[in-house]
């Protein structure tokens, strides 16, 4: 295998395993703010227990997010040197902002959040929680802005430097940051992250109810998480609609691949599920006639631009994009149904869920994770063969001077490390959940010790 393929595998692998943790941190940080504020308001010790319990889990997701995230930044230089050279004039300030405004703040205040319990006032601690959450959100905002620009580059001009390298230079920073897809991307990604946090808590709460342990504790946990789950599920629908219509306008190749639209015709269908045969340019499955036209143009007739009207040589891998896109939607449907049913029971004050539903809630922790990964895969594979849409192809973006042996070596190292970290994360989270909230916590938080 050559350097390009190996570098792509390495990037896909590391970013996939990295992206397990930041959405959990972002989502849990919102729940932590809610729970800690509720504790400060009501002084109910259950809220305090909940805060401390999830803080320990948060500490792990956060540490692993940082540990698996640092390689991403370096890989821009080591494996994607030509890409770095091409984009840095435009995107450099976005990475700079991520580092100084988000990462520095969150990593700094994390220490206070985790270890500051006895050393600062309760209000100051809540402020630290908010600052860490703020940092985590802003990290996402900047990184997604960088990514959005790659899908719809604006505000740049192409320049050839004295050494012959062609680069994109910033012409209008406002247009770089407010690239057409960016705001919709940011909302979509953040809602996805909140869903990760929410369904993680739904899952743990359901587990305790199934085992009939810590009933009061898990009811409160479910109240917080189900509220987040139902709100984000519905908001995600609006956000997805908004984003998809923008994708249709700006990245027609990707949008056509989402639903396997090979030929442009009126009443374009959307598929509930299907199988794409790229060589025959056909999709087998369950089409809903006119749905895609309606979702895109708000009427059933207007045809959606098909792949036949677009450059054939710059077509993404349609069947993969199609499947990932449909996996994401399927996951959203499942999550929304769980959230609705859970909230219905809460409204009826029936906490004696059926075991089957509890088991479904327990595995629901996987749904947002799969949806997030599938969503990113469909978005970024749909952009191929371009790394920067219509400007830089992936085959022109990697570092030419490294050898495939080097990349193979680092790829093995990353696979071993990331799998080990993920395995340990699962083992330790599982142990934390099984131990439950009452452990060696002998002292109360917020008690100041004299220095």
């Amino acid at each position: 295998m050559d350097v390009e393929i190996l570098s792509r595998i390495q990037f896909a692998f590391t970013i996939t395993f990295h992206y397990i943790y930041p959405p959990l941190s972002i989502g849990l940080s919102i729940a932590l703010i809610l729970m800690e504020a509720l504790y400060l308001k009501t002084k109910d010790p259950v809220w305090e227990k909940l805060t401390k319990f999830w803080l320990k889990v948060f500490s792990m997701t956060f540490a692993l997010g940082v540990a698996t995230g640092i390689p991403m930044m370096f890989s821009l230089g080591t494996n994607w040197a030509r890409y770095s050279r091409f984009v840095s004039d435009v995107a450099g300030s976005i990475i700079g902002a991520e580092g100084t405004f988000a990462f520095l703040v969150e990593a700094g205040f994390l220490g206070v959040l985790l270890f500051g319990w006895n050393r600062i006032s309760p209000k100051m601690h809540l402020l630290s929680t908010i600052l860490v959450s703020f940092g985590a959100h802003f990290s996402a905002v900047w990184i997604v802005s960088f990514n959005s620009w790659m899908h719809t580059p604006t505000g740049y001009r192409l320049t050839t430097l004295s050494d012959g390298t062609q680069v994109a230079q910033v012409a209008n920073w406002g247009q770089v940051f407010f690239s057409p897809l960016n705001m919709s991307h940011i909302v979509h990604v953040l809602l996805g992250a909140w869903m990760s946090g929410a369904f993680f808590m739904v899952s743990v709460g359901a587990y305790y109810l199934l085992k009939k342990r810590h009933i009061e504790f898990s009811k409160k946990m479910l109240k917080v998480s189900l509220s987040m789950a139902i709100a984000t599920s519905f908001l995600q629908l609006i956000s997805a609609d908004n984003l998809a219509r923008k994708v249709a306008r700006h990245n027609p190749e990707k949008f056509a691949s989402f639903e396997g639209v090979f030929t442009t015709k009126s009443h374009t269908p959307a598929y509930a599920f299907g199988w794409v045969d790229s060589s025959q340019e056909k999709v087998y499955g369950l089409p809903i006639p006119g749905l895609l036209s309606f979702l895109t143009y708000r009427n059933f007739e207007t045809p959606v631009i098909g792949l036949d009207q677009l450059e054939k040589e710059n077509r993404p891998w349609v069947s993969a994009v199609f499947q990932f896109y449909h996996l994401m939607i399927l996951m959203w449907v499942l999550m929304t149904l769980i959230a609705i049913k859970g909230c219905y029971h809460w409204w009826k004050r029936e906490w004696n869920f059926k075991p089957l539903f509890l088991k479904l809630m327990i595995i629901s922790v996987l749904f947002p994770q799969l949806a997030n990964i599938a969503g990113w895969y469909s978005a970024c594979m749909g952009r191929q063969p371009w790394t920067v849409y219509k400007l830089l192809k992936t085959k022109e973006a990697f570092s030419p001077i490294i050898t495939s042996g080097q990349v193979m070596g680092s790829l093995i190292m990353f696979v071993v490390m990331y799998l080990l970290l993920f395995f340990l994360f699962l083992v330790l989270v599982d142990r934390k959940i099984k131990n439950g909230p009452d452990l060696e916590e002998e002292e109360l938080p917020y008690r100041k010790i004299s220095q």
């Binding site: 540990a67 640092i70 080591t78 040197a81 004039d89 700079g96 205040f109 490294i402 680092s410």
Partner: protein, 340 residues
Amino acid sequence: MDTLWIAQFIMYGIFLFSLVAYVTLDGFDLGVGCLHLFSKGDQERRLMINSIGPVWDGNSTWIVIGGGTLFAAFPKAFSILAPNLYMPLMLILFGFMLRAASIEFRGKGKGKSWKAFWDGSFFVASLILSCILGIILGRLIEGLPLNDRGEWEGVLLTPYSILVSLFGISCFAMHGSLYLLMKTEGEFHDKVRLWVYRCVLLFFLFWLATTWATAKWCPKMIAPFYRYPFLLFFPVLSFTSIYGIIHSVRHKKDGRAFLFSSLSIFFLMLLFVIGTFPYLGYSTIHPEKNSLTFTNSSVSELALWILVGVSGTGIPLSFFYFPYLYRVFRGKVVLNSMSY
């Protein structure tokens, strides 16, 4: 002096600042890691890890700021240096991940072998990081064999870079031991004091050796002092702060010793900057043509000024909250249920 040069110079300064901040701050928690296996028993090892517990994450952020600044402001240097340093950088990343995992996971298990494993990995990861950082720094001082195509022609390891690497490890170990001295009390404190004596001695010997080797092998590093004799002020300050460490340690002024050790690192890095100015990577094959300087590697002027606006706000902001974070955790380490 045109505005482009001013913007390039400011970003060069910000890049160097984050480098110095990284070495000074992460230096002591890497040093604590390099000393980790010299402590005995679970209690001592928990004290070691928890002394850096609340701050190590924030400290290591500075290398990301440094790397990010290089990417954002000097992409030519970033895109030539990073692939050429592929293996050392991958080892650094391996060290980062292993260290974070060790700190996070060690306290989460009860078994003896579990803890022993993570103790070992914490030590090894810290050592790898310190060692590779020293080698890269050594190579940047010596100059890099960069040819016309921006490729590396030659080996990575040289006697000089290995010496700098050993000097770096001794420097971090000393810095870490002095930090531990501030953070500990009782019996363990006395034990740490013995480490401090050995580390300071080791540091001093490697400092002499490295200074001698630099004067002998890297005339380029000495040249600025002949041209501008007033720069000799900085080696004097550097020596004074090293003397300050020895003096404070002898008089058992723990806080002051750590302060002097931070100052020593700062001045040593300043000497590095004076010697390598204006190069981000000095090519030994064709210095005029292939070297990477802060003026020939930068992005366009508009991009630079945007960056100056961004980093110039974000980094000074940290001058307000970083001291606060350290103030919250001032005093001796106390273990409790939330500790690692």
